[in-house]
Amino acid sequence: MKRGFLESTFVGFARVVTRAMISEETARRRGLLQALDPRVRVVGLFSLVLAVTLSRKISVVVALLTVAVAIAILSRVSLFVLVKRVWLVVLGFTAVIAVPAIFVTPGDPVATFGFLTITEQGLRTAAMLILRVETAVTFTTLLILCTPWTHVLKALRAFRLPKEAIAMLAMTHRYVFLLVETASQMLESRRSRTVGILKPAAQRRMAARTAGVLLSKSIELSNEVYLAMQSRGFRGDIQILSDFRLDAWDYLGLTAFLLAGGLAVWMGR
């Protein structure tokens, strides 16, 4: 039986969520980022993201994008994955905002199509926007791909982020899979009992019911999980075992990241 629009959308969503969040394979490889302490990765890559957002020159942002690609290669991250899952997707989203800027930004005309005029300043603004977003998302993706989620959370904890926020992030990560799996099973079960093609209105009703049941299940699940946490001594204060240690390589990496970020901000001012 052919999948309906809603079901296809959900299956696609489930695939994207699962792919986006499972990064252990890349994280286990031996590479530049993987060799660094997670706290250095978090600070270093965020300092580069900050440099991207503060730079006002296209050449500097291009240089930072080149740095991102170099880090990806040295960290054994597939460029194909970066192009397909990051650059093309980001381009699609950013272009929606960037393209109108080509025409509406006042400046020196480059070309005219009927009543639409492309300006040099418009092209620069659009290029800057797209490059900035692409570069910042690339750095963030590198952090996620090369660092197990647990280490990201522990690193954030090391920076005194509220424990409650960390616990929420951890639980969301954990249970999004369970709920996606439950929803998939519910859709499969419904398909196995459905004969013929449902009308769009019936499909929408079915989807709304499925969403309702899923919400009830997620509430029940969260209650159960809370009981399980209480049973093992949870009193509202998450305790985390942090065994990170900084060595000379980490200090070198941190210095390199901060220098690169600082240089980019200074040159791009």
């Binding site: 499972i22 252990e24 197990p148 989620w149 647990t150 959370l153 951890a170 639980m171 990560h173 954990r174 249970y175 899979f177 369970l178 699940l221 159960e224 999980v225 009981l227 399980a228 946490m229 209480q230 049973s231 093992r232 001594g233 949870f234 009193r235 305790q239 985390i240 075992l241």
Partner: protein
């Protein structure tokens, strides 16, 4: 042995639906007890009451002479001491496995109880070794098989080395080898000071895991006794939905007999 748990006319309901209807029982320290009952008989609710996750709406529940109340569990000192002594393995391991990796999962309890770091590391390693999950240390629990999840859930509780173990269907979803591993573990605790209370409807393991049996029916204790008294009582087990008539054929002759799945045999 002194009485550890004492329930007198304990009642509990979920949103107006009664789960326990005036249940009374006593469990002594060091006893190995099986709670038998069909689905919905109140086994899981009883375990949660014993673990002070729920509190009786009527009647009383006492642990080691102390009446368990929500007010008592507002006190950190009592709550943590109780959690150190009593631990529950949930029926659905997905509920119990909420940490990002197996190691974090097993370390969760000791961390909450604020054990020293070195103790946590060694105890976690021991518990993972005991349940054969050391090789899964850095794996996220949601990517494990059903049996692996159950073994991690067990390790996450055994690491606390509690005095009282509450096990809700511990062998469900396990393959035969892992099942026998769990049964062996419970057998090893025989004669120790550990109190093990297991909810199950798998009659074939009862003789191995329990010295005393409570049969639950609609939130009450329908019968209690030692396994050799309870297990051959076909009428009782049939009434409690724990056995059914098994029909099959021998050549052209079709007949039926009680389906017990226990060590008992039937004659043709």
């Amino acid at each position: 042995m002194p009485v550890l748990f004492e329930l007198q006319d304990a009642c509990f309901e979920y949103d107006g639906i009664p789960a326990l209807r005036g249940l009374s029982l006593e469990i002594a320290q060091g006893e190995r007890v099986a709670l038998l009952g069909a689905n919905g008989s109140g086994k899981s609710t009883l375990l949660r009451i014993l673990d002070a996750l729920h509190f009786a709406s009527k009647g009383s529940v006492s642990f080691d002479g102390q009446r368990l109340t929500p007010e008592l569990f507002q006190r950190d000192d009592y709550a943590l001491a109780f959690r150190r002594r009593v631990a529950l393995v949930f029926q659905n391991p997905d509920v119990q496995l909420f940490n990002p990796t197996v190691f974090d999962e097993v370390a969760f309890g000791p961390l909450q109880l604020q054990w020293p770091k070195e103790t946590i590391l060694s105890k976690v390693a021991e518990a993972m070794e005991l349940m054969g999950v050391t090789h899964l240390r850095d794996r996220p629990p949601y990517r494990l098989s059903g049996g692996e999840k159950k073994r991690v859930a067990l390790a996450s509780v055994l690491v606390l080395d509690p005095d009282v173990l509450l096990l809700d269907e511990p062998t469900a979803t396990l393959d035969p080898r892992s099942q026998s591993q769990v049964v062996d573990l419970i057998q090893e605790w025989k004669g120790s000071s550990k109190t093990v209370i297991t909810a199950t409807h798998q009659l074939e393991i009862v003789e191995d895991i329990a010295d005393r049996v409570f049969v639950l029916e609609e939130g009450r204790v329908a019968a209690t006794g030692i396994p050799p008294e309870i297990l051959p009582n076909y009428e009782l087990l049939l009434r409690a939905n724990l056995v059914h008539a098994h029909r099959h054929s021998h050549g052209s002759v079709i007949h039926s007999h009680p389906h017990l799945h226990s060590h008992s045999k039937h004659e043709h």
